[in-house]
Subunit: 152 residues, 2 copies
């Protein structure tokens, strides 16, 4: 059963992540939700997003930060186990949408930006669609992520 996005009780006016799930919603519990970003060039790309409007990571308590990073880590471990990526990339920017969200993505030495961050310059034109090169399909990956989050 897919979760349904519920806007926060106290949304920030005009905040995209107070209004929209921020990707394909996979899981939501308490203060956190996880989505998959539909990015054809980087298909193994998830986000952990705060369900409240929190601006900076340090606005969280230590306990809340640990919970947040446990979720980030759970996704990271699934990506490593399922895909054997060249590297995991983690980032929390929020320059465009200052509502705490962590990008968690598997990177491959064949992907179109490697070794640059995906926000950097493109380095190649891949020969085939990225999703076809993953060791498992996105449905399998999503299911493994969901299971890991449920146990985190």
């Amino acid at each position: 059963m897919s979760p349904v996005f519920t806007p926060p009780a106290q949304p920030q006016a005009g905040c995209d992540l107070c209004t929209n799930p921020g990707g394909l919603l996979l899981w939501s519990e308490g203060d956190w939700r996880a989505v998959r970003v539909e990015d054809a060039a980087h298909p193994a790309f998830y986000r952990v997003i705060c369900n409240r409007h929190v601006r900076e990571f340090s606005d969280l308590s230590g306990v809340q930060r640990s919970r947040c990073m446990d979720l980030v880590c759970a996704i990271e471990q699934v990506l490593i186990a399922q895909l054997n990526p060249t590297k995991i990339n983690l980032a929390a920017f929020g320059n465009m949408v200052p509502h705490l969200h962590w990008h968690v993505m598997a990177r491959f030495d064949w992907d179109d930006h490697f070794p640059n961050p995906i926000w950097g310059a493109r380095t190649r034109e891949p020969a085939q669609p990225a999703a076809e090169r993953l060791a498992v399909g996105l449905d399998v990956l999503d299911a493994a992520v969901l299971q890991a989050l449920a146990n985190a």
Copy 2:
């Protein structure tokens, strides 16, 4: 008294962060060190670097991850308190140097890449050097970071 960089007991051959401090070394204790990155366009830019050769964030135990993020957070809080930045950016990539290191930087709506990540496209030619626009000098900022890390 400035700390002295000590390579790990079991360095990874060819790893830049097993060989070099990775910036201006400010603080080192146990598994972690903190450096300031000398970047003229983004002067309020620090890194928290593992003193051992660890590849991915999830290679750490939960206790080690908490310690790591407490240090990241301590720097973030100093940057916010001292500089009132537009946003804090946090990232752990390691595509070039797969040795765990967290980038912690203050971003400003006037900086040369904002709102892009600093790895993205440049958005403007700033009118004056970035360091001159900071509310405090880098010596004051470094001292505040050092104090925060000592208390973290």
